[in-house]
């Protein structure tokens, strides 16, 4: 077996760039999917039946599909729906947002439901409006339950961004796979890819554990 | 003045505690306690919360290991080897404050699990025995119920039957009625009283002063990990020799 690890160092520029795109994609998706999740959760609790049904359908559909399929689907359907030729990055971002918003919606819904009804009633009894009760009483308490789950979702999302590589978004996985096929240094590049994901993901997993310990609710 | 003679005082005691110590870090939970329990006696341990009485009870069947002194059960010091401790535990039944029934087992299975897994008894035989014990604690009609479908008092009676199934020589009760609704306390205390009348040796950590007074043969008062006073219930409740005992009973609203 003849190995040449220098290819990894030579490719440091593109690899670093790919890693940055991965992180950017993760951050942007979360920035959209957190408010998206809250809106969907509120819509599901709406008294307007069609609104609640739409949100329920949206959430159940997009969290019960393989992400890879969603990425392909977005790649072909988005241009038809929007009439625009979207770049791969935007398409990948859209697929991730659909998926993660659906997850976050469930996270927020269970967090909100975990707050006893007496809490809302106490707020209403003080003369607060429904939205005041939600913002001042329910959300601050639900946050504690929601935060650890959001942190776990973040790490899953970070890993899932690797799947948008199939539509040529230039993130870490795609970059590494490209260099692999151009240089034929398969073992070296695939190992480097795994190592970079590990280096980035391992501390995140540890931070998640810390958040769970600090904020986790014990039954 | 008549001298009080303890039950079976002419025979060797069943349990002897000699200068027992147990600490958690720097906190002395039990600090040099010596007492003994004779066969057939009902000994109640009373005292304020955190005074070490529960800890002493849990040291008795080695759920906690002691840090000093010695506990002798039927003449022999408590063993340290795991297998030997398990042998000893089979001869001591324990009832917990929070029942600790196994939620995935029916009442019947909760009572028979020790027989089948630890004593390797045949399922049918264990079943018959379990039914007899559940009948004895007044739950013949609840054998198929899961703990979730039993009241607190019923759960605790199942727990007593579970402990009795192992045919223990002594029963250890750790505040058996503290987690119960007031209306179900009586049914558990009744079972315990019947058990005492049958001559079972019992050590009971309790806050139920009327039970201690009526059923106990010997009452031990704890405070801050130490033994404050011990004696027959008449003495403890009617003529405590120590001021602190009087204070403690007074706090509980006990008026002689």
């Amino acid at each position: 077996m003849n190995l040449d690890w220098s290819i990894v160092w030579q490719s440091r520029g593109p690899l670093l760039e790919g890693a940055l795109v991965t992180i950017l994609l993760t951050a942007l998706t979360m920035m959209i999917a957190v408010p998206g999740g809250i809106v969907l959760a509120l819509m599901r609790g709406s008294r307007l039946r069609p609104v609640a049904w739409f949100a329920t359908g949206f959430v159940e559909l997009f969290r019960n599909l393989p992400l890879l399929l969603l990425v392909y689907w977005a790649f072909y359907v988005m241009p038809v729906l929007t009439g625009l030729g979207l770049p791969p990055f935007a398409t990948g971002l859209a697929a991730l947002c659909l998926n993660v918003s659906a997850y976050n919606s469930e996270t927020f819904r269970s967090g909100i439901n975990s707050i006893r009804r007496g809490q809302s009633e106490a707020g209403l009894a003080l003369g607060m409006s429904r939205s005041e009760v939600f913002r001042q009483i329910v959300l601050p308490q639900a946050w504690r339950r929601v935060l650890p789950i959001l942190a776990s979702t973040w790490v899953s999302l970070f890993k899932d961004t690797s799947l948008v590589s199939v539509i040529a978004v230039g993130e870490l996985a795609h970059t590494a796979m490209q260099i692999r096929s151009q240089s034929f240094r398969v073992l070296e590049m695939l190992t480097a890819m795994a190592a970079i994901y590990w280096l980035l993901g391992y501390p995140q997993a540890k931070i998640v554990d810390w958040i769970h310990r600090k904020y986790g609710v014990r039954e | 003045m008549t001298v009080f003679v303890r039950k079976n005082a002419d025979k060797p005691p069943m349990l002897v505690y000699e200068n027992v110590k147990k600490c958690y870090g720097t906190f002395m939970a039990v600090n040099g306690v010596s007492l003994h329990v004779n066969a057939g006696e009902v000994v109640c341990l009373i005292g304020p919360s955190g005074s070490g009485k529960s800890t002493l009870l849990r040291c008795t069947n080695a759920l906690e290991t002691i840090d000093g002194g010695e506990i002798r059960f039927e003449g022999k010091p408590l063993p340290t080897k795991d297998a030997e401790i398990r042998q000893i535990r089979q001869r001591m039944g324990m009832v917990f404050q929070s029942f600790e029934l196994f939620p995935h087992k029916t009442a019947l299975e909760n009572v028979s699990i020790g027989l089948t897994t630890v004593k390797k008894m045949a399922t049918e035989k264990a079943r018959t025995r379990a039914i007899a014990l559940l009948t004895k604690v007044g739950l013949a009609d609840k054998t198929a119920n899961y703990p979730a479908n039993l009241s607190g008092g019923q759960q605790q009676r199942v727990a007593i039957a579970r402990a009795l199934a192992m045919e223990p020589h002594v029963m250890l009760f750790d505040e058996p009625t503290s987690a119960l609704d007031p209306e179900t306390v009586g049914e558990v205390l009744n079972v315990m009283r019947n058990l005492a009348q049958e001559g079972m040796t019992m050590i009971v950590v309790t806050h139920e002063m009327s039970f201690a007074r009526r059923v106990a043969n010997w009452v031990v008062v704890f405070e801050r990990g130490q033994l404050l006073e011990q004696g027959p219930p008449q003495q403890i409740f009617e003529a405590p020799t120590i001021e602190r005992t009087r204070d403690f009973l007074g706090h509980l609203g006990w008026s002689g």
Partner: protein, 221 residues
């Protein structure tokens, strides 16, 4: 915009064979992950120090590395090291199992540690041994408590099998790509396959949740 679903009808056998393989891969991966995850979870809790350190490292690494990367590495890199080339199916099964087992291990550990200490003591008090307590008291309750998490692990596993398409396992996703490419009808093909996946995953998670509601009390000590 006009739709043409005829390519789907023409190649339904091809897609059905893909669905069959998706189901086979999912079932075997769930079974293998559960066995491996149980062993890892128990080893991580009760094993010797070196074993625990090793298993924590394995679990956290799998939490950090995407399953896509694991699959690609096993399929393309392992043959270079070992000299043996894998059949794509076995590479996918191995990769998914290694990945999912780490999650199963964590779920089992969380399930067991959530059970009150009193339950262990009640077992000790009737003279049970450590192994008897784990088998008879802790695991049965932990498994009930784990059910919702186990449901999501099943759903994640089915979703992960789609990634096997990347290493050319002819499961549903891969077959869909092929049909979409040949027919130039990707929207119809992928939309239909979306419905199929949804009909596969959604009822399973729902059934597990329903079942959990019925048995939850068996795990509540």
């Amino acid at each position: 915009m006009d739709f043409d679903f005829s390519p789907l009808i023409d190649s339904w056998r091809f897609l059905a064979s893909g669905l069959g393989l998706t189901i086979v891969l999912s079932v075997t991966a769930v079974a293998c992950s559960f066995v491996l995850g149980l062993a890892v979870g128990l080893g991580r809790m009760y094993g010797r120090t070196w074993l625990r350190t090793l298993l924590v490292f394995y679990i956290d690494s799998m939490r950090a590395i995407p399953v896509f990367v694991v699959l690609v590495w096993i399929y393309f890199a392992v043959p270079i090291i070992s000299g043996y080339s894998f059949d794509p199916f076995w590479a996918a099964l191995t990769g998914i199992t290694i990945h999912v087992a780490a999650y199963v291990a964590e779920v089992i550990r969380a399930g067991i540690t959530s059970i009150r200490k009193g339950q262990v003591q009640a077992g000790l008090a009737i003279g049970m041994s450590g192994a008897q307590i784990i088998r008879q008291i802790l695991l049965p309750q932990a498994i009930v408590r784990m059910l919702p998490a186990f449901g999501s692990i099943v759903s994640v596993t089915i979703k992960d099998t789609a990634i096997a398409a990347v290493i050319a396992v002819p499961e549903l996703m891969r077959q869909a790509e092929t049909v979409a490419g040949q027919s130039y009808r990707p929207i119809e093909v992928f939309t239909t396959v979306m419905v199929i996946y949804f009909l596969l995953i959604f009822p399973i998670t729902r059934l597990i949740d329903r079942y959990y509601i019925r048995v939850a009390h068996l795990g509540r000590s």
